[in-house]
Subunit: 82 residues, 2 copies
């Protein structure tokens, strides 16, 4: 079993209302040191070893472009974990 | 500005309907090598240097316990990035 983890985050220029809400919540709980929060996704992909080896990085890039990431407002990186 | 990244994922024993949906979607797009998908959160915390240094790890652990993580069904780890 091959595992790849994709990290997706909003581009810095994009407003993050969810992050603002979490940031406000943390400050209400007394964590005044928090100045900003950004909420993104961590997607773990599990793949079959046999079929996953050739051009793995290209395929994962394709998966991100086609489904996992909204490339207009999001950026991503991924790492092959094992 | 101090930055800490929190990685939150569902515990392995918990069903992940969102992951199942993404997994099905990828296979429909022709990525047959994908056997399973787990969707988690990546939360970037930005903190004020002056107030954030003492017991930073303890404070971030507290933030996770109190707001960022549902510890019944989720597990988390975090790293101080800079």
């Amino acid at each position: 079993m091959m595992k790849v983890v994709v990290y997706v985050r909003l581009k810095d220029s994009v407003l993050d209302p969810q992050g603002k809400a979490v940031s406000g919540g943390l400050r209400n709980l007394g964590f005044a040191e928090v100045t900003d929060v950004k909420v993104g996704k961590m997607i773990e992909l599990y793949m079959d070893d046999a079929t996953a080896t050739e051009n793995l990085k290209e395929r994962v890039g394709d998966m991100c472009q086609k489904l996992l990431v909204n490339t207009v407002i999001e950026e991503f990186r991924f790492e092959v974990v094992g």
